[in-house]
């Protein structure tokens, strides 16, 4: 069973076993507009929860993407280098950014559930 949680910086993280897949939310993708460039972390890169892990750029601006949970990066979505528009087309699916080996599962349970995140976005 996989489970998805969300951050107030508009990242999502899906957990399967000790593997976390991370991307930006549909709301974030809509706010950014057309994504033209994504900079992704390399495998082996260690990042703490809340640490800068990737960069996403639209025509207008660059934004940091933070790791919702800490761990060691195992792989990143190289398809985004060729086709960054995937982030707009399917932000919470094919537009994923990177995966990491989760260091501490308790970090995950502190994040927002889908319902909590939907409420959070409504209040923005």
């Amino acid at each position: 069973m996989s489970e998805v949680r969300f951050t107030d910086q508009h990242e999502w993280v899906r957990i399967e076993g000790d593997e976390a897949t991370i991307g930006i939310t549909k709301y974030a993708a809509e706010q950014l507009g057309d994504v033209v460039y994504v900079e992704l972390p390399e495998a082996g890169h260690k990042v703490g929860a809340g640490g800068e892990a990737a960069v996403v750029e639209s025509v207008k601006a660059a934004s940091e993407v933070y790791a919702p949970v800490g761990g060691e990066v195992t792989t990143s979505n190289s398809a985004l280098a060729e086709d960054p528009a995937k982030v707009n087309a399917d932000p919470e699916g094919d537009g994923w950014f990177f995966k990491l080996k989760l260091a501490d599962k308790s970090e995950f349970s502190k994040l927002m559930t889908a319902e909590q995140y939907a409420e959070f976005v409504k209040g923005l």
Binding site: G33, D34, V36, E39, V59
Partner: protein
């Protein structure tokens, strides 16, 4: 998201932008559309393929009258104003007494009229108008026209579209200007713009602009275009954005805008700081504005440092982003003159990392103006 603010001005098309679903942002004191639901990429590409309608009513319009307003204007600009023939428009730089750039602007001599028609940038218009009126006191009189609105219709289909509402307008060639009617409304129309495409700027009385904008948007080729795409279009066209690529810290030589200095003006040296500027024309300036293309995919944004291959800082990016037509990052910036040649290999510093880039000829995308043959 920006809070709604009472200090922000609205153009006469504000309600239309909101109705069209625009994302509104503060710009030069106005609440302006940065993009519509189609998004910046589609708006940009549509303008290059068909036609885009821009609300540029925030820009400053004015008439300069007097016995010889062109002679008066030449006190403040190195452009050839006296030699401008009736029915033509020209680009000029407004210089301060130090010879650095207070603004860039367009001026027109309408057929059969003595006053010159001026269009200046939105963010600088109040300062410009005070400066022009003050400096030319006694020789010319400036009449700002905040009651007028301004539309830009840009793209290869612009001429066909506007011709349906203003018969005969297609006869104008690049930088020609005329009074005419657009869908029955009195207008000043110039064949110019700031996208690199063929197109028109249409000055209207504010109470007519909503009807005209709706009529143009109803044409199948036309899409509304926000400030986001206006910025990426003008950057691809190699055109300066005041306050970014040019300002009061640079002179026309550094800004690579010597072409805007009239030939007669160069000989007569009768414009602000002319001796200093002409010395730089002949002997070279320490830095130059250039086009820059990063080798990779990462955009280099405004403020990014430029370094030589040894890591020494040699300049700074003043406009940078993504060029949708080229599907690649593009930028403009200033570099030490030794690095200003086309093809010069440099690094742009993005998030602390040097990324290889090259100095590139401007414009990045060829202009497609309809020039007189």
């Amino acid at each position: 998201m920006a809070e709604p603010s009472e200090v922000l001005h609205k153009t006469p098309l504000h309600a239309l932008h909101v109705e069209l679903g625009a994302k509104m942002v503060p710009f030069s004191g106005y609440d302006m559309p940065v993009q519509y639901p189609a998004g910046i990429l589609k708006e940009h590409l549509h303008t290059r393929e068909k036609a885009g309608l821009f609300d540029v009513s925030h820009m400053g319009q004015a008439f300069l009258s007097g016995n010889d307003p062109a002679r008066a204007l030449e006190r403040l600009t190195p452009a050839d104003a006296i030699g401008l023939k009736p029915g033509l428009q020209r680009y000029g730089l407004l210089l301060n007494e130090r010879g650095t750039i207070k603004d860039d602007f367009m001026f027109s001599r309408l057929v059969g009229e003595t006053p010159l028609y001026l269009v200046v940038n939105a963010g600088t218009k109040h300062g410009d108008f005070d400066y022009i009126a003050g400096m030319l006191k006694g020789v010319a009189e400036l009449e700002p026209r905040p009651d007028r609105a301004l539309l830009a219709l840009q793209g290869p289909a612009a001429s066909a579209v506007l011709g349906r509402h203003s018969p005969g307008i297609a006869k104008l060639t690049f930088m020609q200007v005329a009074r005419c009617t657009v869908a029955g409304a009195p207008a000043i129309v110039s064949r110019s713009g700031y996208t690199g495409e063929d197109g028109f700027e249409i000055s209207l009385e504010g109470n007519h602009v909503l009807r005209i904008a709706r009529a143009l948007l109803a044409e199948p080729e036309v899409m509304p275009i926000g400030l986001g795409a206006r910025d990426s279009l003008r950057l691809e066209a190699g055109l300066c954005l005041y306050g970014h690529d040019i300002d009061e810290t640079v002179n026309p030589v550094e800004a690579s805008l010597v072409w805007s200095i009239g030939k007669r003006r160069k000989l007569d040296k009768d414009f602000p700081a002319a001796d200093k500027i002409m010395d730089l024309v002949f002997n070279g300036a320490a830095k130059k504005r250039v086009g820059i293309r990063p080798d990779g995919r990462a955009p280099a944004r405004e403020g990014s440092e430029i370094a030589d291959k040894s890591g020494r800082v040699i300049g700074k990016i003043t406009s940078g982003g993504f060029g949708p037509t080229l599907n690649a990052p593009i930028a403009m910036g200033y570099v030490e003159s030794a690095f200003a040649g086309d093809g010069s290999e440099i690094d742009v510093i993005v998030r602390g990392k040097p990324l290889p880039a090259r100095v590139s000829p401007l414009p990045f995308v060829p202009h497609r103006y309809r020039r007189a043959v």
